[in-house]
């Protein structure tokens, strides 16, 4: 993001305060995914690029309470493969795979038997992985389901992208970065009412005009 873009994001976030809404949206996506596929669980894993780990950002169903926020290495297991290769994948009996069980089910006691996973992609980055665990065993997997999974993953990718922008903006607001003061000003003025708000805006406009002159 450019400095200008960062500033805009911070100001927008200061006014809107949206991180929670995007998190709710992710929660809603995994809920719908689980219910459409009739699965036992669904989750969204986000890539923490710095740490090289995948983090459970939204979980519904089995493991719901214990998994949220837990992490595992981003280059291992099925989710790791999906992320690195940007390719969706369906496996119908992962239970037999001890390494997968260790990666994903650690500490939960829940070992999925089947997993469908798709990457969360923006134009040129993989943000994470959407997975749907344990579809009903009697139903045969079809290409139509693969397509549906892809559609959910696209929706999730947009929500994740928004969430990450909002978090980024929030960090700027929380005294990280030179321009945090501007975002705080925007938030403060926005919180004012009536005449005080009008006065605040006048002050900001005057400041903007002065700085504009100074900048030449």
């Amino acid at each position: 993001m450019t400095d200008d873009g960062e500033l805009r994001a911070a100001v927008a976030s200061g006014v809107v305060g949206s991180t929670e809404s995007f998190q709710e949206l992710l929660g809603a996506i995994v809920h719908v995914a689980r219910s459409i596929f009739g699965a036992k669980a669904s989750s969204i894993l986000l890539l923490d690029e710095e740490a090289g780990e995948l983090v459970f950002e939204a979980v519904v169903g089995e493991g719901e309470e214990s998994l949220l926020g837990t992490r595992f290495p981003a280059d291992h297991g099925i989710a790791g493969w999906v992320l690195a290769t940007r390719t969706p994948l369906v496996i119908e009996d992962v239970e037999q795979d001890p390494r997968h069980a260790r990666d994903v089910a650690e500490g939960t006691g829940y070992v999925p038997k089947g997993i469908m996973a798709a990457p969360l992609l923006t134009e040129d980055a993989a943000l994470g992985v959407l997975s749907v665990l344990d579809r009903p065993e009697q139903s045969l997997f079809s290409l139509q389901e693969m397509e549906l999974l892809g559609l959910f993953a696209n929706q999730a990718a947009i929500a994740v992208d928004l969430l990450q922008r909002a978090r980024h903006a929030e960090r700027i607001l929380q005294d990280e970065g030179d321009l945090a003061v501007v975002a705080r000003l925007a938030a403060a003025v926005n919180a004012l009412e009536d005449e005080r708000r009008e006065a605040g805006l006048r002050l900001l406009r005057a400041l903007a005009a002065t700085l504009g002159d100074a900048g030449g």
Binding site: H76, I78, T85, I91
Partner: protein, 288 residues
Amino acid sequence: MHDEARPEVGAHAAEPGSRPLPAWSLPKDQAERIALPMEWPERVDREWAWGGSTGEGVRVCILDSGVEPTHPLVGGLESAVTIAVDEDGETLVTEDDVGDLSGHGTACAGIVRAVAPGCSLSSVRVLGQGFKGTGNILLAGLRHAVDEGFDLINMSLSTTKKPFAAILHELADSAYFRRTVLVASAHNMPVESYPWKFSSVISVGSHEEEDPLAFFYNPNPPVEFFARGVGVEVPWLGGRSSVVSGNSFATPHVTGICALILAKHPELTPFQLKNVLYLTATNVGGGQ
């Protein structure tokens, strides 16, 4: 391939010791020098294309998460290396004693082995060195595989990173001219990804039929062929097996079929091989 040496690029029908043909033109008196040595039947069918072939002598590379070498359904590897890229951008190729980190590469190797039991399999592992730099490692791995002169490289993966597209394109073209055929998974999500969209590779999507040798030519590219990609039983980690779906698993079916064809017709260029695939596709005449 077989017992004979692999023909050099551009060496068709050339007299031993004769001057190579100019690269970009064909003088009038030279036309007979490029007469093709093989006789093509009036109708190319599967019997002609790969009847009796096991893929023996064809060297296939699995560019993936590694391959479990001891898995009975993989049946041994000719070689296994892992790729890393150091801080200076230098490629490090080391012998791989880790095997497979996700099961995916083992699954792909098993599918190729099932279709072409006689072929030689090698693993070039480009995943599992940490998440950072996976794009660079993928490129380095592909470059290594092309340099090694494999006949076929199975790429059940893609990248969406635009900066890599141009280099991948160059590599795919150089493989094509060196007679290394890249078989690459098409992406089944609406995103731009590479290298499957390049016309110098063979791109593969999935169909839902159970016949491992059923494959369809797609008259509406960029995906060129559809092969079995749903409910495929494959080898998985720890000597076990699994049932999997995705274009990743359709791709090695086509790689295996290519190995059968190349073992029987080692003189085929990638262009000719693609033609044979087309003529023997299930929805085209020779597929019957």
